[in-house]
Amino acid sequence: MNVIIGLEIHCQLSTETKLFCGCSTDYRNDEPNTHVCPVCLGLPGALPRINRKAVEYGLRVAKALEMEVLEESEFARKNYFYPDLPKGFQITQYDRPLAVAGTLEIEDDEGHAKSVRITRIHMEEDPGRLVHMGGGDRARYSLVDYNRSGIPLIEIVTEPDLRSPQEARRFLNKLRTMLEYLGVFDGDREGALRVDANISLEGHERAEVKNISSYKGVEKALTFEITRQRNLVRRGQRIARETRHFQEARGITTSSRSKEEEHDYRYFTEPDLRPLRVRDWLEAIELPELPVARRNRFMAEYGISLNHARTLTGDLRLADFYEQVAAVDPALAATWVADTLLGELNYRSMGIGSVPPDRFAGLLRLIRDDAITDRGAVDVLRIMLDQCSRGEACETPAEIVRRQNLGKVTDDDFSAVVRRVLAAHPQAVEDYLSGKKGALNFLVGQAMKETRGRADPKAITRIMVECIGSEGGF
């Protein structure tokens, strides 16, 4: 049974001010209801005025998704009552959206390229934020913060072209990366991207799952919903066409109680705003280097592998970080950023933004110049990251090496260690000399232990063999 998925993605645009008023969008660390004015509070007589930058951002997205921009688009009122909507309507776009008919290419589950059709993008204002008091279903009242009310959103609607939760996740990742590259979206801000998903099994009714507010949530919600629908079909039951809510904490979807009494939004043209004629702006919009182009450039310019290039360009900040440290040694930098640093960051739930590039470049230089072993470098990296995550002043890698005595042991130091080990284990030396090659591994292991892993095992082995050879009398 084929799975059919279409997404509606709401992205907050990273403008300085709201869509229809001059209130600042930088509200996340502030008290509730401190970024509101008569316009975004819907006070009588207040008039909305369109933020030109928001329209420009919307067009950038339209261009990147190869969409057709309407000759003339307009805003409309969507009427309904909900406490997060102070005016009793939301200003959105209805039958004349900003742009229609685009595509975004992703990889399907077999790794083949696949085009996902974009139906439309339209602009709208974010509602306020509701806090339910008294916990979940037993809430006695709601508290409302209108700081979010009027934040510019674009809603990107796809055709039902996705075939699995994994595909949906890949699509979202790709879209998010693209939006960040375009400089119109900041995915690190909480709630900046919200998704509604339409999902059905071929030949059956579809459910709309609302309230998915994280990238991981999308895959989880869809996987749950497919299992639920499959089980219904297996038991011979009908799948109801309904709206369901994703309960992030429990990883399930539940039917929305309000029996979805035929929505009747009574859309009509927003009389307080003039139409938009912006199609001719498109030509002047210069798209920045997008992820695929950057990936190809990374491979050509730095000579790194497709896998490394893909990982590094999968996130705008990561790609920028890599370019800041690549000069030390592009291949070495790619390995250490993509393979080691990312893992250490994930383990600590840290973002790349908290790593100072100059410090990391310093570490790469130590590795390149053979001043520390790989293992020592990982130790230094961990100490650096722990300092960064605690918000402490970050030591330079060289300082850490000196303080922790992590520097690579030199050949001279080795010889002393090797001699000590040989003297302490005459029997093993005997065994080695009488042809038991395994004894050498034991001796090298002992020497590594003494150097606390700072030595290169190959070097130890070489010195040890020399030593036994020249002082064969052991």
Binding site: T15, E16, T17, C21, G22, C23, S24, E31, P32, N33, T34, H35, V36, C37, P38, L41, L43, R49, I50, N51, R52, K53, A54, V55, E72, N79, F81, Y82, P83, L130, V131, H132, A139, R140, Y141, S142, L143, V144, D145, Y146, S256, R257, S258, D264, R266, L273, R274, P275, L276, R277, V278
Partner: protein, 89 residues
């Protein structure tokens, strides 16, 4: 023709509670108003004028917002800086 059911539906959409008596009272009033619009529709040259302005903008520049006290002053009830509203699902 607007029926009593239409009136009830419109009242629900507008989130207004009306009594049975009021439904009976409003129904002929709605119809009278719509009949009047039918007359207006017969006027010649009914095309709406083309919009006199398009692309009316403001720049993306921050302006002062209201204070929290000013905002909450218009709310029926508030708590901890939030507007207090009836419970919704």
């Amino acid at each position: 023709m607007v029926s009593e059911r239409d009136i009830e539906h419109i009242a629900r959409l507008a989130d207004i509670g009306i009594t049975r008596d009021e439904v009976a009272e409003f129904t002929p009033q709605f119809n009278a108003i719509l009949d009047y619009f039918d007359i207006l529709d017969q006027v010649e040259g009914g095309e709406p004028p083309a919009p006199d302005a398009i692309n009316v903008w403001r720049e993306d520049e921050v302006l002062p917002s209201l204070t929290q006290d000013e905002v909450l002053g218009n709310a029926g009830a508030s708590e901890d800086g939030f507007v207090k509203a009836p419970r919704v699902m």
